[in-house]
Structure formats: structure tokens, C-alpha cells
Symmetry: C2
Subunit: 449 residues, 2 copies
């Protein structure tokens, strides 16, 4: 066990969370230059410790590779676990690219003059600003990948938040070493080391979820089971998505060439992604012509099809047993629907409000779909795979949210901020604005600074 | 029991919630004219049923007035319960004033060009919009006041949301009659009646809190105990505040006349309000001069003072036993602090992140306070009582939120909305933007429409 892990072990989860809260109070008022300097200090420290960090990672990898039988890790998991010098340099670049993003804090979201005069003669008015500020303390539970440690830490510091990390156990040595280096870098930049903390062990997760006095947001990254466990076991707001059951509706006025290309991309570009398509709904009027062509195209790409009764018979495939399923692999459900309304109804009944797309040349049908479908992203004539923070131009992606509150859809740094109202007066009192001789509010919206 | 209550009784809470969700799907895509027409229909129906509604209310009032012993209601509660013709006309005016507010839906919150070209020659680009949309279904648990029924219903319809109401039991007959009239008005306006629903009985509250599949937001209005019960017993996001322990910090560079006036207003303007001040922190350098003057001013206004050890001795009053207390009446805690830092620390330790004010002529001290204090509203040289949706110019107040996620501070109609991303393409696929011959995103922010 590392020195950091031992030190953290000696503190209760509540003590760690309380220390993070204290650190967040120091972080919050810092200007962008100070936060960016801390990010550069973090990047430089990771570079300086390259050899040692890679050596620690080799221990995690060796232990993971030695697992046998049921414990054996999939090759993809093992690959993500590895951190060689090249990988570490990529991680360092990522920290620097977060530093280069626009500052998410101190943005003036609104400005309103409440009154242009004050209670004394010649005193000036009462002015309200709405400013973006950090949330406070984030708790992020994530999978076994070293790059997640540095990326999440960088996003937290950039947005003025303290963060408590809980990494997948296969990467615990690496995560601990990385966090130790990052904490040292914070101290050298004049920031409190407790702004980045790490907890280890499954029992710490339950304790973290109970720390609603200190933790302002939990971000669970990982399996549907993890996300649902977190959602069901905490009063702390949760940012994330349990599943992405995304649909593409092929309207009767479809351009078939366009549709084949878009569905191919939405399914095969990265089948494990939450924004990959799981179900294609085809209007009955075009099903007989379109479905066989779709089946041919997708079979050539290695996609297994499943259908409703009619589609399954038409294509000679299995019927779908569960329309809520997120395959996460080269498999796709296909249903025939009698109308746009039926497609929307199917999506509302079985979708996860993540990302839904319509393919049609009928502009009125498209606009109805975009207006009526209740999902974080609704798309016309493009792949569901675009629903992503980088592709949407947010610079960094904190996650994708299927909850409606606070942040919805792909979430950039803005999702790690909240706002506060700042009111500046000259001795203004509320009683003056009431009764027979009440002053009137001006409520004049000002140009944003 | 009214016909409506009997009908609702026959449906399970889950059925009511599911019906509200279906109604919300119909409501969401309506334009502002249709929603405003529904509000006018609601106002007209209330006017038409004036006599009958007032008669029903008289039954609630008679029953409440007949309560004896421990069950006896305070005079203020009884007064709020009453709905005569004049009160009903006020309520109707309030519905019409909600109709007159700007539309909170369909606002373009962002617009980004992801690419200016398409996959085919001469096809056009890929454009992303972020648009405000309704949340879906609201559940509002509120106190025994008839005007809350019509106001909440109006705010819900204005913002395109369905709403499930749970009124205080003393007002159940009135609430049921009002909702019956409002549902009829919805139907006449061509909207589904299930967009406004009422549940009765305490056991329904627990069932509503479990309906996370259908309900998107719970708004508990009422006691701290109610709000905390709701927060601890639901996975549905909660909008509200359990308490408002607001502070005013009197800095050493204070204008004493200004401070006396502001503190008087903040305490006495409406002591039961959550934005009334509960604790005044006074810098040690001015305490000996300022505190006796403050005590004299507040005693003349009937305010009971409590102090820390030194202040209590200085003023001859009791010591404070609990700095977390929200008096909600003419009582105030006073503490002497050695510095601005100590004041901020006290506020973070004992405040509820609701509204905090500094009184000073020292601009640097004021800016530090505004920057460092973590609260929904931070104020310089004005009363905490301004932290209110109407005074902030939001037109309508849904509530005040002390949670940091989604909506913070006074919440207007915007707090009843979320957003969705709308992406329009021409067959764009994500695979084209990756690899050796990748197309580049333009990510150009467009002027908002």
C-alpha cells in the first residue's frame, strides 16, 4: 500500500470529505490564472515522475494479467489499464488542453438593475448579477483507467471544484501514485492538497454516498448496475446515465442511401458507446424495400439483427425479446411502425431519453419529431454518434446525463458549475418597495459585461 | 368527498402519475399561444364558478374553525385558508398575470455550427441548437392555501408541464373543487385534463415520492420537517429549501445608520420569511459602539436578542444555544467576530447557503465577501429580504432553492424547464470526422436566433 493510501486509510471517509470541502472553499475564489497555473504544475509533475509512475502501473498490469479463470480480465480492459511513457505523455497533453479551455467560472449569466436610485439622496442603484461559480466537492467513481484520474482531476481544478476519486480496483496502485503526484503539484502551486483526494475500497463508496453534507455532486462512470446503485443510495445529486437505448426512425420519405450510411455509422462506429443506436424503427410503407437492403448492409458489417414479428419473418432473424436492451455490441433491433406517431410512442415507451434520430426528407415530419420527442438530443438526418461533448464543441466532456435536472445530454465544464446571485446596494431595504408610498422596481435587464 | 376526489381515489397514485406523464407529452410541443389560451380558459372558468367555489371553501373554513384544543389552527393559518369572492378574483388575476409573462419555452440557449458542409456535394452543414423545454411532470406538496392551487397550476401550464398537487388537508375540499374547475377549463381549451391532478391523503405522498419513472421534479413547500422528509425519501430531484439561516455581517468600515436600517428591515419586514435575517455578526472593532445602538433599535421593534458570551454580557441578554436556528419570528442572534475571515467561517459553518449580506463602506472587503461566501445570494449593503423572485424581476416565483444543482436561489419559470439539443444534418456520420482523412469540425458559435 502506498504512503498516500496509508494516509487516506487513517482518515475516515467523512474526514476526507470534510477536508475536500475546506479545500473547495480555498479553490472557489481563485482566478483563472491561479487555477491554470495549478494545472501546469500538475502536468509538469506528471512529466517529472514519468519513470516512477510507469513502474507502479506495471505492477497493476502484472497483477491483472496474472488473474485466471473467472477473474481473468477482457483484453480491452487490460489495454485500458496500461500506462506506458507514451500514454502518460498523452495524459499530460490532456491536462494542458483542459488548462487551455475557456474559464467556466465568473461568467455573467444575467445582469438586472432592480432600482436606479438608492434610499439616500445621490446614492446609486441596486444591481443584481448572476455569476457562474463552482459546485464545491465532486465525487467521481470510475473504471480502471489511469487516464481517467488525470482527466477528472484536471476538469475539477479547472472548474474550481475539489474532487474525491474512487478508481476501479485493478488500477488502485496507479491511481494512488498519480493522485500523490497531483497533490504534490497542487501544494507547489499554493493550493490545498486536499482538493484532490482518493479513496480505496468498496465500503468507501457507500460512505461517500452518505456524505451529503460535504459532497455536492456524484458522477458514477461505469456499468448500468453501478449507476443505478448510486442513484438509489444517495441524497446527493447524481450526474450520469444508466443506459443509452437510442433509436433511429426511418420515415416513409427517407433517402435510403443516406439512411443506410447513417445507420451503419450509428451502429458500427463504436458499438460500446452509449450513443450507438440499439433500435431502428422503419415506417411500414418503406419497410418491404428498405429492410432487406438494411439487413444486407449491416450483415456485411457483422451486425446481428433482431426484429419484431413481421421484420423477423421478413429478414429470417430472431424476434426481439426486450426492447429496452442496450446491446453495446454489433447487434440491432428492428421494428416496423405504422406512423410517425407510433415511432414517437415506441421511443417514449422504450427509450432512455438519451439520443433519438429521424431520417426523412419531409421537413414537417422532421420538425414534429424534433419537437415532440423527449430526449436529451434529438437529431434529423445525422448519426446518433454525434451526441458527444467533443463533437458538440464543448472542449471537454464530463459525461452524458440522461437526467433532466441541471445538466442534460453531453456535459462540458459548465455541468461542474452552478451560479450565485450577487446583489449590490447602497442601504436598500425591502420595506421601501411596499405599501402606499412604495418605490417601484425598474427591473431593467442590463447588457452582459 | 367530491366527484373528483372519488375519481382520483379510484386510481392508484402510479396511474395518476402515468396519466400526468401522458398529458405532459401532449403539453410539451404546444406553442405559447395554446398554453396562454389554456390559462385564459382557466381564469374564465374560475370566474364562472365563483359562487360555488366560495361555498365549498366555506365548508373547509367552518370545519377548521370548529377545531378545538391541540388541533386548533393559528389565526394566520385560518386567514390563509379563507377564499371569498375578492380573494378568488385576486387568484384569477394572478393566473392572467402568469399568462402575460414571457414564454419560458423554446428559448435558443445556444447555437453552434458543427460543420459548414455535408457528406454529399452541395449538401449543407450540421447545426446544433440548445432549446429550453418543459421538465415533464411536477409534483407539488403545499400548505393549506387555496391561492397556491391556482398559482402552481398556472405556472405549470405556462411552462408546459403537467402537475400533481397535494394540498394541506385543511383545504382539501377547496383544492378539489378548484382542480375540478381547472381540469374542465383545460378540456375546453383542447388540452388533456390529466395535466392538472390532485391527490389526497398522507399515504399518497409516499407513493408520489416513489414514482420516479413518471415525476421529474418534486417541490415541497412547507415545514423544514416536510422538506427534509421529501429529500430523504425520493430519488426524484427536489426543488426547495429546508431552512433559511441568513446572516448579516457588519464590517468594521460600516455606515452605522445604513446598517441599523438594513438590519431592521431584514429582521422585521416579514420575520417568517426564509430570507429574514437570523444572525448578525459584528466586527469586534465596532461592536462596543454598534451593538448597543442595534439593541436599542431592535428592542423598539419588539425583537428579542440572543448573543454569544461577550455580546450577551454587553447587552444583558441570553446566550445563543444553537447558531443553526431559524427563528422565523422577532428574534435575532448576535455574535462578535474578530475579522472578515471569521465572519465567513461562521457563515459557512452555520448558514444554510441561502442569503448572506455584508454591510461595509470598504469595497475590497465587500468584494471578498461576495466572492468567497458560498450561498445562493450574496449581498452588499442591502437587506437579505431582496432575495425573492419578484424582487429579482423574475415575474413569478416557483420557490427558493438552496440546492446547488439545476436552480439555485429564487427560482422563476426557468426552474421548471430543462433543455434539449436539436441537431440538424444532411446524412452526416461520425466516422467521417476520424482517422487519416478526417473532416474537421468548425465548432463556430452562431448568433442566437
Amino acid at each position: 500500500m502506498s504512503a498516500l493510501a496509508e494516509a487516506a486509510e487513517a482518515m475516515s471517509t467523512m474526514e476526507i470529505a470534510a477536508a475536500a470541502k475546506r479545500a473547495s472553499r480555498v479553490l472557489a475564489p481563485l482566478d483563472a490564472a491561479a487555477r491554470n497555473a495549478a494545472l501546469e504544475s500538475m502536468a509538469a509533475a506528471l512529466e517529472a515522475e514519468e519513470a516512477a509512475l510507469c513502474a507502479v502501473n506495471a505492477e497493476d498490469v502484472a497483477q491483472a494479467e496474472a488473474l485466471r479463470g473467472e477473474e481473468r480480465l477482457p483484453a480491452a480492459t487490460l489495454a485500458r489499464l496500461k500506462m506506458d511513457a507514451a500514454k502518460l505523455r498523452e495524459m499530460v497533453e490532456q491536462v494542458r488542453s483542459v488548462a487551455a479551455l475557456p474559464d467556466p467560472l465568473g461568467r455573467q449569466l444575467d445582469a438586472i438593475e432592480l432600482d436606479d436610485e438608492g434610499p439616500q439622496p445621490a446614492s446609486s442603484g441596486l444591481y443584481l448579477e448572476k455569476l457562474s461559480v463552482p459546485l464545491g466537492v465532486l465525487a467521481v467513481i470510475f473504471e480502471a483507467r489511469p487516464d481517467a484520474v488525470t482527466q477528472i482531476a484536471a476538469l475539477a481544478i479547472k472548474s474550481g471544484n475539489a474532487v474525491i476519486l474512487k478508481a476501479g480496483r485493478e488500477v488502485e496502485r496507479t491511481a494512488s501514485a498519480l493522485v500523490c503526484v497531483l497533490r504534490g503539484a497542487l501544494v507547489r502551486a499554493g493550493l490545498p492538497e486536499d482538493a484532490i483526494a482518493l479513496v480505496e475500497g468498496r465500503e468507501r463508496v457507500a460512505e461517500l454516498l452518505g456524505a451529503h453534507e460535504y459532497v455536492d455532486l456524484v458522477i458514477p462512470r461505469g456499468s448500468k448496475a453501478l449507476v443505478e446503485y448510486v442513484q438509489a443510495n444517495t441524497r446527493i445529486p447524481v450526474l450520469g446515465h444508466a443506459e443509452g437505448v437510442c433509436h433511429i426512425y426511418v420515415d416513409r420519405a427517407v433517402d435510403e442511401v443516406l439512411a443506410l450510411s447513417v445507420i451503419d455509422d450509428a451502429k458500427t462506429d463504436y458499438p460500446a458507446a452509449c450513443n450507438a443506436v440499439e433500435t431502428v424503427l422503419v415506417h411500414a410503407e418503406v419497410a418491404a424495400e428498405f429492410l432487406p437492403r438494411l439487413a444486407e448492409r449491416l450483415r456485411s458489417r457483422g451486425v446481428a439483427l433482431h426484429g419484431d414479428t413481421v421484420a423477423a419473418a421478413m429478414l429470417g432473424v430472431d424476434t426481439v425479446s426486450d426492447w429496452h436492451v442496450e446491446y453495446g455490441e454489433l447487434a440491432l433491433s428492428v421494428a416496423i411502425v405504422p406512423s410517425l406517431d407510433a415511432a414517437i410512442e415506441h421511443i417514449h415507451a422504450h427509450g432512455s431519453s438519451h439520443t433519438e434520430s429521424i431520417l426523412t426528407e419531409d421537413r414537417a415530419a422532421a420538425e414534429r419529431f424534433l419537437r415532440e420527442v423527449d430526449a436529451a438530443s434529438v437529431i434529423h438526418n445525422a448519426s446518433t454518434r454525434f451526441a458527444d461533448g467533443f463533437r458538440y464543441g464543448f472542449g471537454a466532456e464530463v459525461g452524458i446525463s440522461t437526467s433532466k435536472l441541471h445538466a442534460r445530454g453531453p456535459v462540458g465544464l459548465e455541468g461542474l458549475t452552478t451560479y450565485k446571485y450577487v446583489l449590490r446596494g447602497q442601504g436598500h431595504v425591502a420595506g421601501d418597495y411596499r405599501g402606499a408610498r412604495a418605490r417601484a422596481f425598474t427591473h431593467r435587464r442590463l447588457a452582459k459585461a
